[in-house]
Subunit: 480 residues, 2 copies
């Protein structure tokens, strides 16, 4: 992991802390270590920090006043949403100089306009809540993550969250029409617009989206809504090679078009893990296959739609011997069962010992070659290591995880994390891929950035950061 | 129109011009007034300028050398693509100090990867050429504009072009995965990546997209490709009110879902214009209606798809008396006829005398009220003025055009352009809409920007512009 850095912020003294507390009210200024604990560590225990105080503002205006004060005093601010981030971007360092600014109390759905297909929310609205609000007016907000019961919209946007629906709906970035952002000096940028076409100046919102709280603090957003699909069809296919998964994807894309909403893949070893450790899981196919694809289409009922499309897709693939066997879910319950085979995989890897993880993407056509080379490299480095590559095939995003050899010492395996990461990332870079497809840079991958970005790009990023945050108070030590 | 501004650039002397010419070669350095003419004026004759020289580089490297030299010397550069822009952003001012940098010779399709659904192009590739290259590998590049025979990808991206396919595919911004940009100081940013998921740092590409050549010069792009729809269904409906168009849109969106690819609207007066001045046009419906909607769905053949969807949509709308009459195209030829009713409208307005134009958008649900208020205001200002509102209903983008009163003096009417614009824009702003939905700011709307943007936003834009172009050489006087 990246080494701890003591950053050059100004440690806030008592008088300053009292001023911060006065902005939010004592009730929402947290200083007791036990009360602060949950803000100071993230869910996997990889990063734990210390903060001078946790502030829980109740309005955009309070966020503005906090930043204005912090900017004058040179106090580092760590914005935090649902604290579900996977690269440590929301956790303070160990110096105790930083102030955590929690967005949790900004949790109102401000406005829903189903006629315009837009919804305006506070940044602290939990993703599940946003999805429910859309559902109530017969709309879909398609962003969907495993952590949706906890993660917040502000965090989703700050990390440009992905998830399983990217294939049809895009990343978080593509679901936003406008933002409200508090800048480093406390000024509020009201960019809340709900227009699908607006060419009046620079696209500032996309600077803040994915910037992980380093360029400004998102306090509100206008989100796009979509029609709720009336029908869904889910298929589960067994294949002999990754190359065949690619060919199935081509067929699914061609026949399914706009209606193809998910295309996931899992290796046999992953199915074995789930069958071994999952609860009441059964293999939908009668024989074992080396690879599996989960294909889902959604759309409207008229004209058969998804049901006819999945049959056409799998029919063509079976005939061409691209797919060796396939099952089509006969009910929503059975569709859920197929999805569990894919979704439980993240959980159950822990039962197989240590797992070294990667969150990478490569151009889709390069997936087979990437998996082959990465697995050859990794098993060459660690005899008996068990690659478990799975994920969002249609986005080129592979959770390339490596389980320890059976019976090996877990700690010794995990100790080789950085070494394995470096080898796999080198291959990713050769394919012009990304070493962080979904999770962002945060603290975890900050030191890796110079290895994958040109000096020009790093320089541009730093110049923009200096322009927007000249006193370097916004989440220092994160990203770049 | 905005008054001419003499800008503070350094007029390039002979020695400097010779250096510029040496970069591209004498053959591609244009100094003869007759040869320069076509670069100096735009297609409607609204803006004509003078330039010191027109340079036609043949590579990204040459563009880089030009900018490096210009940055050192303080020479203003006006980037130009197909010269089809509608707000004067590509035309130099009258001082003669500026250098036009034409991207036209950078016209190679660098790479197509149908498996990954991406295509890498030079910025000077003509849009029609890009679409044809995608078609050849059985893919769709969906950006489609009336000017596609001349406009270039670089210009499309620099203005975040829209067009008729935005409803299903998004604006130009949403069709780009990566960019190659030459910065003001000549450094080349290679951001050409073809990944759909990549969260390694700030989203720099979206700064340059829509920046109209003021933050950097786009020299290459990675574009998204899509499956080619196999089937299309087009309907033409007659309705009694704009409110009913909105209700039809809701039905179309709900039933059509992802398959709804266009939703346009036209007023009766527009149909009259087209019937009066168009060639071999006939009204598809037997009676006149106050308003019309053109609805198109596309998708795959399996399961009926578009054909069944359009019947379901129009069937429900007729039953609910939202639509009074409708025709479904029985052939591609008939679909084309429906589209001509919509597309010819832009051309034929000229036959009805002066036309004062607006390119605005409002939230979709506000369209009926906006049209009502704007028309009341405009006819109140100019008795007998004939509003002709039409456009992309599904994007909230209305080409709100106003024809002169029959028999009125055309020049006197056109002389009131700014006055009418100001009144209509004020209403747009009340609805939190955009005064430039598609065409950008350029020179035409630069003075209007402070009226519709907060001081914070203007300040952010200027700060970013200063950071990326400290010597103010990139298209000065445009945008902000």
């Amino acid at each position: 992991m990246a080494s701890e850095t003591k950053l050059a912020g100004n440690p806030p003294g008592e008088a300053l802390l009292a001023k911060f507390a006065a902005i939010v009210g004592e009730k929402y200024a947290i200083r007791e270590p036990t009360d602060m604990a949950s803000y100071l560590t993230e869910l996997r225990g990889l990063y734990t920090g210390i903060a001078a105080i946790v502030l829980r503002p109740g309005s955009t205006q309070e966020v503005s006043e906090i930043l204005e004060l912090a900017n004058e005093a040179g106090t580092a601010i760590v914005p935090q949403g649902g604290n579900t981030g996977l690269v440590g971007g929301q956790i303070p360092f160990n110096g105790g100089d930083e102030v955590i600014l929690s967005l949790s109390r900004l949790n109102r759905v401000r406005n829903i306009d189903p006629g315009s297909n837009t919804m305006t929310v506070d940044a602290g609205v939990v993703l599940e809540q946003a999805r429910a609000a859309a559902d109530e007016v017969d709309r879909l907000f398609p962003l969907s993550l495993p952590s949706e019961g906890s993660c917040q919209i502000g965090g989703n946007l700050s990390t440009n969250a992905g998830g399983a629906a990217v294939l049809a709906y895009g990343n978080a970035r593509e679901l936003v029409l406008g933002l409200e952002v508090v800048l480093a000096d406390g000024r509020i940028w009201d960019g809340l617009r709900s227009l699908r076409k607006d060419n009046t100046g620079y696209d500032l919102k996309n600077l803040f989206i994915g910037a992980e709280g380093t360029l400004g603090i998102i306090t509100g957003a206008v989100l796009k809504l979509f029609p709720k699909p009336e029908a869904k069809a889910t298929g589960f296919a067994g294949l002999a090679s990754v190359g065949n998964i690619g060919k199935l994807f081509d067929i699914a894309r061609r026949i399914g078009g706009h209606s193809l909403t998910s295309f996931e893949f899992v290796p046999r070893i992953g199915i074995d893990y789930v069958l071994r450790h999952g609860d009441q899981i059964r293999d939908p196919l009668s024989q074992a296959h080396d690879w599996y694809a989960l294909v889902e289409l959604s759309g409207q009922d008229s004209g058969g739609g998804p049901a006819e499309l999945i049959e056409a897709i799998l029919g063509e693939a079976l005939e061409a011997e691209i797919v060796d066997d396939a099952a089509i879910a006969a009910s929503l319950g059975q569709a859920d069962d197929f999805w569990r085979l894919r979704e439980l995989l993240s959980e159950v890897q822990g039962h197989e010992g240590g797992s070294i993880k990667h969150d990478v993407s490569v151009p889709i056509a390069a997936i087979p070659e990437f998996i082959e080379r990465a697995s050859k490299t990794v098993t060459g480095m660690i005899e008996g290591a068990r690659p478990v590559p799975f994920g969002h095939y249609g986005d080129g995003n592979i959770h390339y995880n490596v389980s320890q050899p059976v019976g090996a010492d877990k700690e010794a395996f995990i100790a080789r994390w950085d070494e394995v990461n470096a080898a796999v990332h080198a291959i990713v870079t050769e394919f012009n891929g990304s070493i962080s497809a979904e999770h962002g840079i945060g603290r975890m991958k900050r030191d890796l950035l110079p290895g994958v970005k040109s000096e020009v790009e790093l320089d541009l990023m730093r110049a923009i950061r200096r322009t927007l945050d000249p006193n370097a108070i916004l989440n220092p030590g994160k990203v770049v």
